[in-house]
Amino acid sequence: MDLNFKILLALLVAFCFTGGIFYLFMDLYLHIYDPEWNGIFSEKEIIKKESIFFIGASNVYSIDVDRISDELIMNQLDYEIYNLADMSDTPTRRVNSMMHLVELEPKVIIYGISMTDFEKSRDYRSEFFNRGLFGNIVEPDKFFVNFLSSIFNLDFSEKFPTSPKDRMIQSIKYILRGPDYPTHPFMNYRENNILSQDEIKSIYGEGVGFRGIDNDIENSEFLAVNKIIETFQSNGIKVLIFTPPYNELVFEHVKQSEIENFEKIIDNISQRFDIDILYLHDKYAENEIWSDPYHVAINRNAQIYTDDIKEWMIKELKE
């Protein structure tokens, strides 16, 4: 075989192998997570109680489950609560690890369903044509991305987790010494700063946008939500749903009709599965509790989010 060809073949093999390992590792953590695991190098003991899982994307993550747990105990509700929110999580991604959650036999699953879960995907073809000839000439990088993406109907940025490194390090740490924060295993649960509304606007003003709600009932995310809830309920797991909050900057880019469309989708889920919903998506828009437009800060001055969830949970669990 020609050596040049061998070299290219080696490159291709390395590329495919790396791609395979990457794909495997990015979701591995979700599939092997076990609240009782403490890592190879740890000998901590866990007292097994009935458990409650929070699931959803990173906007669910700042809910302080230890604080809720303490309050629940005071109300004679003794549960071990875990916040299993994961970065860039979507219903279609969560379907892949759904059966693993069922095997862990939680009593209740509290699912944060976000407006962005049903956001329309980017229409590269329209963007390409809407930019016009001059727009495409002046910004060739955007032209290239829109053109290729419209041909192959691909958006790489939406296919991969935001930070493979974070996921990889979490996986390694998890295997060696168990999660850093046992009740918040998938992301770093560290206090971060609250930004003022002005700071949020000046830092994130240009990066925020919303493409609108995809109302199609055949929408894959909508079908995935239904499947997840059906599976949990059929396995005797109580499901509660809430809508995670957004900062007012996001709402500047969302039409009222889009918010109504989102609420219709959630109402539909509520009626179909007989689930109570806690609507928080626009509740704290103007509060000073944000680390960025999509995330309530992990901060003692931003506990209102946790406290509202806590009150609602106590009420729901006592019913």
Binding site: T18, D141, K165
Partner: protein, 490 residues
């Protein structure tokens, strides 16, 4: 177009495929010129016109200087060439900085502020300006004959692997590589045919892989720790500042030498040799030695086109030596960017090198002392030199003067507090682990010479393992979005 993007990979594969498929010499050369200008146009849009302007200006100025026999005319032409491109560089890079200084100065006297122009810095302008200036100066000095083909000159100025962040090429190295003699007769010189040979392909890919590892695995993953220290350094303990400084030194080295490795590797695959830009700078034994190992293409440019002409008239005067070095380094600092921090960076290095040179000159027996030839002596020299070099890096990283002074104080006068540092290490453990790993790799590659060549001479199956490990490290520890190359700003 960043080397670390899918767009670059698609672009590079397309260029290589076209070179392999169509072997017509003229086509290959034209393709490389068009691809190079497209490469810049992709990121810089209409500002690519500045590159077109520089190319045309210097091509014709070079030609006219060579044709002219009148020394006065030659001088005027050289002045037009240098002024024409430095003026452009100065306008885009330094105007807003100058306005801010004028406003500050006259603001005290109650004058109205001049509005900023908010100019976008054209990508690579500092690099291609210096490259094209060296071309006309070499012709002026008679050490280079101008190329007769604007296509070849265009490829020299705009050659895409080195276009946006160097290494800064010399026409005397580059242009001869575009031709080949097909017999001993001079008239038989023809345009070089580009083809991809096994050695170059394997070595080029190896160098690119090492470059990606340095940039995406090391530099980009050390960067958050450095940002955590220097985005707001006031309040940090001495050891945290030192850790951040060391981290930044490794980050900027990994970032820039990684870029250079990718550029050299990409050029080599096409069949063009580009000289190295770094030679283990963290093992330099003096500040002068450091500049023989760090950003070599810039330091030799400054030496040949600035320092030598300045010192030429009176080599023996210590005062002249000091002022020439000082001026050269001042401008070298300013080349990096419009900001007092870069000027301070240049001045610090100017003082280092000037003192180093004067000490060697005044006390020749001191530097020849046997102690410096021993292992301990060498290690001592390296440690002292690095302590000084890293100190200067603080001014490279911290733009705010108060924060810079605070960081420098903490670097020099230790407070011996450790609680905050321990907490900081716990919060940045991955980056902290990478620093010694990077250092160990540097030591290993210092002992084993020509690592890239050795790796590329491995059997394909073993080479495949190397490639897979690098790819896994790069992909699995990718931060999610590649940091822009630091030297893109310059």
């Amino acid at each position: 177009m960043l080397f670390t993007t899918v767009e670059f990979i698609v672009f590079f594969i397309a260029v290589l495929t076209a070179i392999v498929c169509y072997k017509n010499r003229k086509f290959q050369h034209t393709l490389l010129v068009v691809a190079s200008f497209f490469f810049l146009y992709f990121s810089d849009s209409y500002l690519v016109l500045l590159l077109v302007y520089t190319t045309i200006l210097h091509y014709f100025i070079g030609k006219k200087i060579a044709e002219s026999t009148d020394p006065k005319n030659r001088k005027i032409l050289l002045g037009i060439g240098i002024g024409g491109s430095l003026g452009l560089l100065g306008f885009f890079k330094y105007t807003d900085f100058a306005i801010s200084q004028i406003n500050e100065l006259f603001g005290v006297l109650g004058f109205t502020e001049i509005p900023f122009l908010n100019l976008i810095l054209p990508i690579g302008i500092s690099f291609y300006t210096f490259q094209s200036i060296s071309y006309i100066i070499d012709i002026y000095r008679g050490s280079l004959k101008p190329t007769r083909s604007i296509l070849q000159y265009g490829l020299f100025v705009a050659f895409f692997p080195t276009l946006v962040a160097g290494p800064i090429l010399r026409a005397s190295d580059f242009l001869p590589q575009l031709n080949e003699k097909i017999s001993n007769l001079k008239s038989q010189i023809k345009l070089k045919q580009f083809f991809i040979n096994n050695r170059n392909l394997k070595l080029g890919i190896t160098m690119m892989a090492i470059g990606f590892l340095k940039k995406l695995f090391f530099a980009d993953n050390i960067a958050p720790m450095v940002d955590n220290v220097f985005n707001s350094p006031i309040g940090h303990e001495s050891f945290t500042i030192i850790l951040g400084t060391i981290g930044f030194g490794f980050q900027v080295y990994g970032d820039f030498s990684g870029y250079s490795d990718i550029a050299i590797g990409a050029a080599l695959i096409i069949g063009i040799n580009v000289p190295p830009n770094f030679r283990k700078p963290f093992f330099s034994t003096s500040p002068s030695d450091f500049w023989r190992r760090w950003h070599i293409s810039l330091s030799t440019w400054v030496r040949d086109y600035l320092y030598f002409p300045l010192i030429f008239k009176n080599r023996k005067s210590s005062q002249r030596l000091f002022s020439s070095l000082f001026t050269s380094f001042f401008l070298l600092g300013l080349w990096h960017g419009a900001g007092w921090n870069f000027i301070i960076f240049g001045i610090i290095h100017g003082i280092y090198v000037a003192v180093d040179t004067l000490v060697r000159k005044q006390f020749p027996n001191f530097s020849k002392n046997k102690f410096f030839k021993t292992k301990i002596g060498k290690i001592t020299s390296i440690l002292i030199t690095q302590f000084l070099i890293f100190f200067a890096f603080i001014s490279f990283r911290v733009r705010d003067v108060d924060e810079m002074v605070y960081s420098m104080k903490k670097y020099l006068i230790w407070d011996f507090e450790i609680d905050g540092t321990i907490n900081f290490i716990q919060q940045n453990e991955f980056a902290v682990i990478l620093i010694p790993i990077f250092l160990i790799l540097q030591i290993i590659t210092l002992k084993i010479k020509n690592v890239s060549e050795r790796i590329s001479s491995l059997q394909v199956k073993h080479w495949l393992i190397f490639l897979t490990i690098i790819m896994l490290l790069v992909v699995l520890f990718y931060r999610g979005s590649a940091e822009e190359f630091i030297y893109f700003e310059f």
